[in-house]
Amino acid sequence: MHAQTITLTVNNVSLDSVFARIQEQSPYHFVYTSEELTGTRKVSFSVQKAPIEAVLGLTFKNQPVDYSTEEKYIYVRKRQENKVENGPPAALIEVHGKVVDAEGRPVPGVTVSVKGSPRKAATNENGEFDLKADENAELIFTSVNMETSEVRVARRTRLEVSLRPKVTALGGVTVEYSSGYEKRRTSQTPGSVDVVSNAVINRSVTTDILTRLDGVVSGLTFTKNVSPTSSLNQSTFSIRGRSTIFSNPNPLIIVDNFPYDGDINNINPNDVETISVLKDAVTASVWGSFSGNGVVVITMKKGKNNQPIRISVNSNLTVGQKPNFNYGRGISPSSYVDLETYFYNNGFFTSSIGNPSTPISPVVDILNRQKLGVLSSADATAQLNLLRSHDIRTDLAKYFYQPSVGQQYALNVTGGGADDKYFMSAGFDKDASNLVRNGYNRITISANNTYSPFKSKLELLIGIAFTQSTTRNNNPGNPGTIFSYTSLADAHGNALPIAINRLSYVDTAGQGLLLDWHDRPLDELRGADNTTKLTDYRINAGIKYKIIAGLDLNVLYQYSRGNSVNDNLHSQQSFYTRDLINRFTQINFATKAVTRPLPIGGILDEFNSGYFSHDGRVQVDYRHTWSERHELNALAGYEIRDIESEYRGYRLYGYDPDLQASGLVDYMDLFPVYYNTAIRGQIPSNLSNLKTINHYLSYFANASYTYDRRYILSGSVRRDESNIFGVRTNQKGVPLWSLGAAWNVSAEKFYHFESIPYLKIRVTNGYNGNVNSSVSAATTEFIGAPNIYGGTQGVISSPPNPDLRWERGKSPINPTTGISSFTGNTANMRGKGFDVTINTKNTVGKVKWYTTILFSFQKDKVTQYKATQTTISPYLITGTLNPLPGHSLYSVYALPYGGLDSVGDPQGFVNGKLSKNYSAIINSTDFSTLKYMGPVSPTFFGSFCNTVAFKQLSLSFNIKYAFGHYFWRPTTLYSSVINGTSFGAPDFSKRWQKPGDEKTTKVEAMTYPPNSAKESYFTSTDFFVDRGDNIRLQDLQLSYDLTKLGHSRLPFSNIRVYLYARNLGILWKANHDGIDPDFIPGTSYPLIFPTPRSVSGGIKVDF
């Protein structure tokens, strides 16, 4: 036996708990059934560095059971009389066994062979096997992912064997995955699937579940630079790159059995057991047309049979830094003053100054008053210098941002008897965001119970999950379009007005008869009252009936309902309300009569959205293993889904929150606008309503056949039908299929590569669709609000095109047809890539060091696109989707840069010669002038996670890397900077200023007037394209476990104290401009910062 020592103190502890503690400190594994432990007594002892034999001696002392060791297995069996060794040949007995993993879950697909005999069997889905064996035979359990073990039958007809996974590092092989339809072993599919274990899920600390997948699954990309308002149709996370151009780009998220229709933030990560990521057609295609972007299956925690009640409490506190306000700075306030002065001197503001109600910036106001002689030159300079000295970021950091604080409390109760199991949980999360006055509270409650009467022939499942959350969204993170030198507060913290309206105008307008017309962003923040309350629940019911051995009938049903109410109260004191009231006020200065079409009082905007969904499924599962070599798994079924949503918005004017009173207004008439009576407008009603219905019917079947554990053939067919608009019922469906084959090379006898113990070669093919039921195949009309005459307005939203069915793409079209973009089958895309996951155990001994390396390569290519533009200019514009065949869907195209000329103008190339004909350059029809820089998404990426464990202490850190992508570095666009819509970029200070500068800088001179063609060219040059390659320290976790075994007086069985730090920062980046490629600085609001570092401390107690 191994010279391992054990330090253990137990006090009146059951045998199985002692076994668990010994297992933790030794390489040994106990093999026993709970039946064998019946009648055993609890034990108490304390040992220090004792040999294992001594500890086992103490454990089994005076017990009705005995043990024997075989290699690293300790077999427990009832004490009985010694048999005569040389008796008659033992008879064959029928052995029924079950193989489970360390967490008690069944392990299917384990080969069970009888030593010295050709008899063999394999475990089924439930980890069970039946085998005839000599009553003293030794059974050998082999599996691809589990350590091999040998167990003596010892005349037992019922066996339960627990196997350990081969590698137990972070991200280790957890081989059972769920597809939402069935649980399978990864070894049984030719497809690609990753399973995120509970240990990995719990390694990180976040309120939501999806974030916890970042950097732990190969092939899964999280894109941080996605703007929710962008038209690029990007998903924040994607599996294996991109498979669609214009349809829904998001992976399908399944919770347990059905697609999740609620807000994914409603899922408490503490209730999640495992997450399976189905990455390719073979594994995902079981979800048919919903699965084009891959599928994420979240398996929620369930109870376990024959387990006493276990209570687990987890609590943690996360503190995040304030964002780094030095990141992504624009032009300095002082430079900004210079820039405005330059534009002022060129007469740029003449028009706005001339119109008394047009806002002008403080600098322009000072310069103008100086020019009018109201302000002396010295005073003007002094006032300008005051502006130069102040940066609005200082105020934002002080008044708009704060360190974030998140608290999380979770309680889990689990257990089960012989024919029932249960799980209950409650969770409370309270997050205060980085933005002052913003936050999120969430309460989650869930319970599920499985009852399996009639010897488990029938299984009844019922579950409920409830979430209630409140989101406070009082702080938009920015005060709107204002200037970088603006002060938001005075020295005492009192809010200051900003020049969103002309200050000199609002100071005097209305001669005191109007409401105060100043906008003080800080008061707006302090007075905002914008909350969203969400309630969501899900009820599950299921019946599983074992018709005959191997054939199960499953009937599942789920009902979900959610409602969210957003109340945004603009109080009477808010600028929003005062501005709107003033805007429509009419004053007769002679009589001092004030007419207000809007009542005095607050404005309440309420937006309600609600949904309900029914999901139903009838499914037949069939499993059969014969001749010990053939294994068949099949399922077929029907599914029906009905998701209906309603949205309603309305507004109350003159709202008094105390009296719940509001006033009546006239929405139909046109009223003159106070500051420009040439304009008349209607009072905005903010009325909206919309109802959507999504119906789906699906028919599916899939099967896989495995021969001798070496060859796997798998296939699936599915037809999805939906209430897609405007096609005949018989065309509402799409048939989809997939086929896959795999060869488990490492299972071959000739295979002897120790360094690659597991090798599987697979080929898969399939046809996946994508659902986009928002567009129609028939002529459709969008019905909108009434026109000013009261007639309902309709516009053509989709032209007649009966060919259109399920697969679609969108493309520009000749606008003479009456539509400027068209949805049809216009494009082909091809993606390729591979994922590698390597788990290594680097040391043997007291200090354990595990490494998990994830490596993914992925590249998508648009192979055909019917709507290529005629000139190169559309490809230079970021923010529009213009695929070019031969390149990645999201690509960076640039123009070669010829540097500056002697007056500081950028020079491009026309016919290979330096040119300043910018219009010709950017509108060239010669696509060879367009320089393909590379894709926007990384082509090589992954992570490198190390875990070092010493006794109960464990430290792990995850390093993420991404290579092969490109991004645009922001620069200064004078035309938008001068309108106050952009901060510009720090390269302003490097601009060409005097002849000769062109030798040292490439940044164009500031010229007047801004030349849009020149700006378009300059900002499209390869000078501004940076490589996105980077390596970052994603997170770090430190944990310490204290078990009852070591400290028997503890009132709990295990306690874990952990520290977790996230977003620790970038370790290396290819660009030299201080830009984190995941957070490309914007030149306008909202400010973009790298996610601030956060540190969590927590404690998890298991009773």
Partner: protein, 455 residues
């Protein structure tokens, strides 16, 4: 597979109480319909897009003057180029509303006409059915005509068969080939559509829904089309037909001159509401009275002090003369059909066809409502030449900033008026010569596959 099949029907029929076909035919969004009923088709007519007309034909005219070079520089490239009649207008920028929105409206009209093929016309819906068909034909013709004013050369009966007109799309099938019809065919289609529409549209126009076409509006539009073709005899007849049905004029004396918006959206002269695309930048500046713009002072001075139009149309300031906007009450530039224009059309075409009595009578009728009560002296005994000259001056003064100037300039120059437009800006002088190719604007660059206009 028997068990799941049964269970499936149980789930579908019992659980949701409907058949598979009903289940799959549920409307996915409450805002989406397949336009199949008269009200659904009417909604297309009621879209405000349908009442918008191109901006380029107004921004190219001498209706406004930019006085400040800085203001000019702050305008969009398209507005700048249009103002100085540059060779290229779009600078590579496609997605131009002047083209796209008009054809979007043509598509909507074609959808209506195609969908009417599946809506049965019966005794109970006959008038609505006719009305919607007439409206669709009217709108299509109106948009074709507006497009032809911008992108096709002025109508000249001697060259019309060979001149390139616009793309005359008569089907909602987006796969139909895109071609340019000749100017002759373009105008023939417009006239055919309008003539059919006059037999379908109601004789009374709705004063509530002034955005909807009516028979008098269709006659008025036919008059406008024939006038733009210099076919004065037909123009006379159609103007007359329109006035037979509706001839109300508003007496300017009944409104006060000091209000900033003197007209209301129930202006009784309006036969059919339309305005220039609301988003147009330079016109937005103009109608919001932003500084840097003025009305030609000579034009302003040409109004007599007793002429109320001077007060209804303009706000004079010491340096600039601003426009007051909204002949139909809203702030947008009105380009629709109104009785004042019909009187002027009948007057002019009568004068040009030798019917001096009608010409002078219409002129006097109109002007009597425009002058301060008791100050207007009716014209009498003018020579035909002098009468026409007076009518044209009054046309300019009455229809100021009504979207008609561009078409008139094209027509007058064809008549030999020899009007040279001149812009002066920052020391540079720009001119637009009579009958120049620059009187048709280039087709936007994203409209590919059809011949471009010569410039």
């Amino acid at each position: 597979m028997k068990i799941p099949l049964t269970a499936y029907w149980v789930v579908v029929l019992m659980g949701l109480g409907c058949t598979r076909s009903q289940f799959l035919n549920a409307r996915p969004s409450s805002t989406l319909v397949i336009p199949k009923t008269i009200p659904e088709l009417q909604a297309l007519i009621d879209s405000y897009y349908m009442n918008e007309t191109p901006a380029l034909s107004e921004t190219s005219t001498d209706d406004y003057i930019i006085t400040d070079a800085n203001v000019f520089k702050s305008l969009s490239i398209k507005d700048q180029n249009t103002y100085i009649w540059a060779k290229d207008i779009f600078n590579g920028q496609g997605n131009d509303p002047d083209w796209n929105e008009m054809y979007q409206n043509v598509l909507a009209s074609n959808v209506i006409l195609d969908q009417l093929g599946v809506v049965e016309r019966n005794t109970s819906n006959a008038s609505d059915w006719d009305n919607i068909k007439g409206a669709a034909l009217f709108v299509r013709a109106y948009q074709f005509w507006n497009l032809a004013q911008v992108f096709a050369p002025p109508y000249d009966s001697s060259t019309a068969a060979g001149d390139l007109g616009i793309s005359v799309r008569l089907t909602s099938d987006i796969n139909a080939p895109i071609t340019r019809a000749s100017v002759k065919d373009t105008y023939s289609q417009i006239i055919d559509d309008l003539e059919v529409s006059t037999s379908l549209l109601p004789s009374n126009f709705s004063s509530t829904f002034r955005n909807r076409p009516s028979k008098p509006a269709a006659f008025a539009l036919l008059a406008r089309v024939f006038l733009s073709m210099r076919a004065y005899a037909q123009a006379y007849l159609y103007a007359d037909s329109a006035l037979q049905l509706y001839s109300t004029l508003m007496n300017f004396n009944s409104n006060t001159t000091t209000t900033s918006i003197p007209f209301s959206n129930t202006n009784p002269e309006v036969l059919y509401q339309s305005n220039i695309i609301q988003t147009e930048q330079v016109l937005y500046h103009l109608r919001f009275q932003l500084p840097g713009y003025t009305v030609d002072t000579n034009l302003y001075k040409s109004y007599s002090p007793n002429d109320l139009r001077a007060y209804f149309y303009f706000t004079p300031k010491p340096t600039n003369i601003f426009v007051k906007s909204g002949y139909s009450g809203n702030a947008y530039i009105f380009t629709g059909l109104a009785t004042d224009e019909v009187y002027l059309m009948r007057s002019e075409s009568a004068a040009r066809t030798g019917n001096t009595a009608v010409a002078i009578n219409d002129l006097n009728t109109l002007l009597a409502t425009r002058y301060k009560t008791g100050t207007f002296t009716p014209y009498v005994g003018l020579s035909p030449t002098d009468l026409l000259a007076v009518i044209l001056v009054e046309r300019r003064k009455e229809l100021y900033l009504r979207g008609m100037r561009w078409t008139d300039l094209r027509r007058f120059n064809k008549e030999g008026a020899g009007i040279v437009l001149t812009r002066s800006l920052g020391g540079s002088i720009y001119t637009l010569q009579p009958n120049s190719n620059f009187y048709m604007l280039p087709i936007p660059p994203d409209v590919i596959g059809i011949p471009q206009n010569p410039r």
